[in-house]
């Protein structure tokens, strides 16, 4: 069944129950997002906290990746409140991302750059110091380079790896130490990774990249 909703004054039609994020993106309305995946409709991770929007009738901003569209919904993707919240979330992510666009394989095709542009945000954090974590680059796999200091912990590579029929990478540890890694923290090259490259396709930033030939 189709429903009609209004996003930023524009009327759009979407299948009832679709998450608002996908309805917006399918209609050319950009909402920042890192962790959501279309195939994961059951329980979206809702962990990057960048897809906030304001919806009439809701007291506070809500994440668009978790909100099924409903008839008559009125959405504002960049109210003052949303903009400030998204800016804060983005600055937090950027305070934990090794910024090196010039040498990054994802340069020009990076979701962080895209968000910064769409929302007029700085890539380099303004108020917050950069939180360094000394995590070495892993280039042990045949075809893949993994740089954990660029990882934004969206989990997309984990799903891609699982969908490919492998489960080489997963989340480990807690809090600030949370990391995408292999079972037992072995290098990718010893993990059974077959260098299929699905994780590289899934990675919205430059944390997973193909080796330069």
């Amino acid at each position: 069944m189709e429903v009609t909703i209004t996003i930023d004054g524009k009327q759009i039609k979407a299948r009832k129950g679709t998450m608002l994020l996908w309805a917006a993106l399918d209609n050319g309305i950009y909402i920042p997002h890192l962790c959501a995946a279309r195939e994961e409709t059951e329980s979206p991770p809702a962990s990057c906290r960048l897809c906030f929007v304001e919806v009439e009738g809701y007291p506070a901003p809500v994440t668009a990746c978790t909100l099924p569209v409903a008839e008559g919904m009125v959405v504002n993707t960049s109210s003052e409140r949303v903009n400030r919240l998204v800016a804060a979330g983005f600055e937090l992510i950027m305070s934990n991302h090794r910024l090196d666009c010039k040498n990054c394989p994802a340069n020009g095709n990076c979701e962080l750059q895209r968000i910064a542009k769409a929302r007029k945000l700085r890539l380099k954090p303004k108020n917050l110091p950069v939180l360094h974590r000394d995590l070495p680059v892993d280039d042990s796999a045949e075809n893949i380079v993994y740089d954990p200091s660029k990882c934004v912990l969206c989990g997309r590579c984990i799903r891609a790896c699982r969908n490919h029929g492998q489960s080489v990478v997963g989340f480990a540890r807690r809090g600030f130490e949370r990391v995408v890694t292999t079972c037992g923290d072995v290098p990718l090259g010893e993990s059974g990774c077959d260098s299929c490259g699905e994780c590289v396709k899934a990675c919205p930033v430059g944390a997973m990249s193909l080796k330069k030939k």
């Binding site: 991770p45 809702a46 906290r49 919240l85 804060a88 979330g89 937090l92 917050l128 809090g175």
Partner: protein
């Protein structure tokens, strides 16, 4: 159902008859109860049991000696109660080694009740005041804790003899909607922290489609300093079991679980035994009390991460997944364990259920305040005289709770703040002491009810350090899934550490507030949404302490190590006494030409030993902040 219900009534009457007989038999001889919950054991309750057992044997006395749970007077432990014919039952406190044997001997052989050791009598009498004659007892209103410490938690007959499981019989005769309506109109709100109306939660689960539903008791109790749930489970486990069975009956659950942290071995043991006894008595399992109602309850041991107390993380961990919260909705009442409708309630919430079914919604509403009916159970800790558990009606003020129930501030110090609601609660100052305790008032004041941890802070506690301490806890316990909590709390903690070292900037206070506000707004689960509370509330009420650290490098409470220095007052030093010199682990103290002791600031590690060692009649060692005051004083001396 009526046929089933008459069978149930008959079956219960038989159980109760037998239980009452054995209960009354207990009193045919002198009865001695020793409070041996985890708190009592830590104070030596098991040794006291042993001592009394030996003394009774030595004297050839015929008594009943029982291990019971905790009445809440943890400050006075070990605690013991003696029922002796011709006397009111007397509760003794501070029963240290040798005292227990002596009381038993004097009382049971010579008829001298040893009132110098008595805390109070348990029943009105001519001889001794009762607990209700003291300010604490006047404020206390025991519902959940009524029988804690007075019945044997390992004997289901004690629970039944005091009216236990009668509410289950009543509930078996009620339609699920009827039970839900009673709970709804009682206004009961969840005691796990958020204060969500229990009846509405049950109704949602009841109305959710599906024939497989679950009920879960949340006994994860991860707040540092909180031990209400543990005490209830150790002192009266059947109360919780009965509440959970009634919940299952109301929502139509096919299975119940008690999720308890494995770090509570005694509680685990007591629940396991309670479940077994309830099954044997026909109160749990297939065709309960002969009716067609079936429910079994399983014990599930969690391995203790704080965030596993959050309901979606708890459910994930029961499913064998990492204990990480997920987005709600769907709420567990609609999609919980194995994606089936699931009611999850706190231990205390469930403990009210049998009482409400028994005495009715109006009775419950008559206690406490309008929007938060019933009682609140607090674990009093910190710089308060009477630490322990207290159950008071909602609406009691913080002042009454701290000064009358808790008997005020220990060691003649001055009150500074009360940290209420656990690590995600807030610190309230003197001005907020007349705040009534209920869900909404505390939240408005910048704290929260939380699970009931309450830490009293005095003039020696630095509010910046307190905020740092609690944030350090939540930051370490963050699961790391969502951006705001994972990175936001880390930044906040870093800033607080810098401030406690005297290296902060004034803008840092605003940055903290900004980060805190965004973390509350943007986090995925309750942990992140509340973690900034200690910081926000201390900035709100004690901003000048932050400013002193930043502007003057001074810790007003002399607590932050980097901002203090130890100094020996020359005119107070006794000269010939070398106590401080001997106590110093790094040989930082020397005698000057006048034999006055001086601390070499370069060597001093600020361990506090000299301050402790200096005899109280001199009190020559003091702390100064900022540390450069030492040099100024030493110069002034020259």
């Amino acid at each position: 159902m009526s046929k089933g219900s008459s069978t149930a009534k008959a079956a219960y009457a038989k159980l109760q008859e037998a239980a009452r007989q054995n209960w009354e038999k207990l009193r045919e001889k002198p009865l001695i109860l020793v409070g041996a919950a985890t708190c009592g054991r830590a104070a030596g309750a098991l040794q006291l049991m042993e001592e009394i057992r030996n003394e009774v044997q030595r004297l050839g006395l015929d008594v009943n000696l029982l291990e019971v749970g905790c009445m809440g007077h943890c400050y006075a432990e070990p605690v013991m109660v003696i029922y002796n014919e011709g006397f009111p039952p007397i509760c003794y406190g501070y029963v240290s080694e040798g005292v227990g044997a002596r009381i038993v001997r004097d009382f049971l052989v010579d008829g001298d009740p040893g009132i110098e050791f008595a805390l109070a009598a348990l029943e009105p009498n001519e001889m001794l005041p009762t607990f209700t004659d003291f300010p604490r007892g006047m404020h206390e209103k025991k519902i959940v804790m009524e029988h804690c410490g007075l019945i044997d938690p390992q004997n289901i007959e004690h629970y039944i003899a005091t009216g236990g499981y009668a509410s289950l019989v009543k509930a078996l005769d009620m339609a699920p909607e009827e039970i839900i309506n009673v709970i709804k109109s009682s206004g009961l709100r969840g005691r796990g922290g958020a204060g969500f109306p229990t009846g509405i939660k049950w109704e949602t689960c009841y109305n959710a489609p599906g024939s497989e539903k679950f009920v879960i008791c949340n006994a994860d109790e991860g707040d540092p300093g909180a031990f209400m749930d543990r005490t209830i489970l150790e002192s009266n486990p059947h109360l919780v079991v009965e509440g959970l069975i009634i919940a299952a009956r109301a929502v139509g659950a096919i299975k119940g679980y008690i999720y308890v942290r494995a770090e509570y071995p005694l509680a685990v043991q007591r629940i396991a035994l309670a479940l077994q006894q309830a099954r044997e008595a026909g109160l749990l399992g297939q065709s309960i009390l002969g009716t067609n109602f079936n429910i079994d309850i399983e014990l599930f041991q969690g391995s203790g991460a704080f965030v596993c107390g959050e309901e979606t993380a708890l459910i994930a961990s029961m499913e064998g997944k990492p204990g990480i919260p997920r987005h709600r909705p769907p709420f567990p009442a609609v999609s919980g364990l194995w994606s089936k409708p699931t009611v999850i309630n706190n231990v205390k919430t469930l403990s009210y259920i049998p009482h409400i079914i028994n005495k009715g919604a109006d009775w419950f509403k008559s206690i406490g305040s309008e929007k938060s009916p019933g009682t609140a159970i607090f674990a009093l800790a910190g710089k308060v005289v009477n630490t322990g558990l207290a159950e008071v009606p909602m609406g009691t003020t913080l002042r009454e709770l701290i000064y009358e129930v808790g008997s005020g501030i220990a060691n003649g110090k001055k009150f500074k703040a009360v940290q209420i609601g656990g690590p995600s609660g807030g610190c309230l100052p003197e001005e907020a002491m007349d705040t009534p305790i209920d869900f909404d008032s505390l939240t408005k004041a910048g704290a929260m009810m939380g699970s009931g941890g309450l830490v009293v802070l005095d003039e020696d506690d630095c509010m910046v350090e307190i905020a740092r301490y609690f944030l350090d806890f939540t930051q370490k316990e963050s699961c790391g899934k969502c951006t705001f909590c994972r990175l936001g709390t880390k930044h906040m903690l870093d800033i607080l550490e810098i401030i406690t070292k005297g290296k902060g900037r004034l803008e840092d206070i605003d940055l903290l507030v900004e980060l805190a506000t965004k973390i509350k707004e943007g986090s995925l689960c309750g942990l992140g949404k509340t973690a900034p509370n200690p910081v926000l509330s201390t900035i709100r009420y004690f901003r000048e302490e932050y400013e002193a650290h930043i502007n003057e490098g001074r810790c007003p409470s002399l607590m932050c190590k980097d901002l203090i220095a130890y100094y020996i007052l020359p005119d107070k030093c006794e000269r010939s006494c070398d106590a401080c010199v001997g106590s110093c682990p790094v040989e930082a103290i020397y005698s000057n030409e006048d034999r006055i002791k001086v601390i070499d600031q370069e060597k001093c590690v600020k361990c506090d030993s000299c301050m402790v060692a200096c005899p109280p009649q001199y009190k020559a060692v003091v702390k100064l902040s900022p540390p450069h005051l030492v040099a100024e004083r030493e110069k002034g001396k020259e």
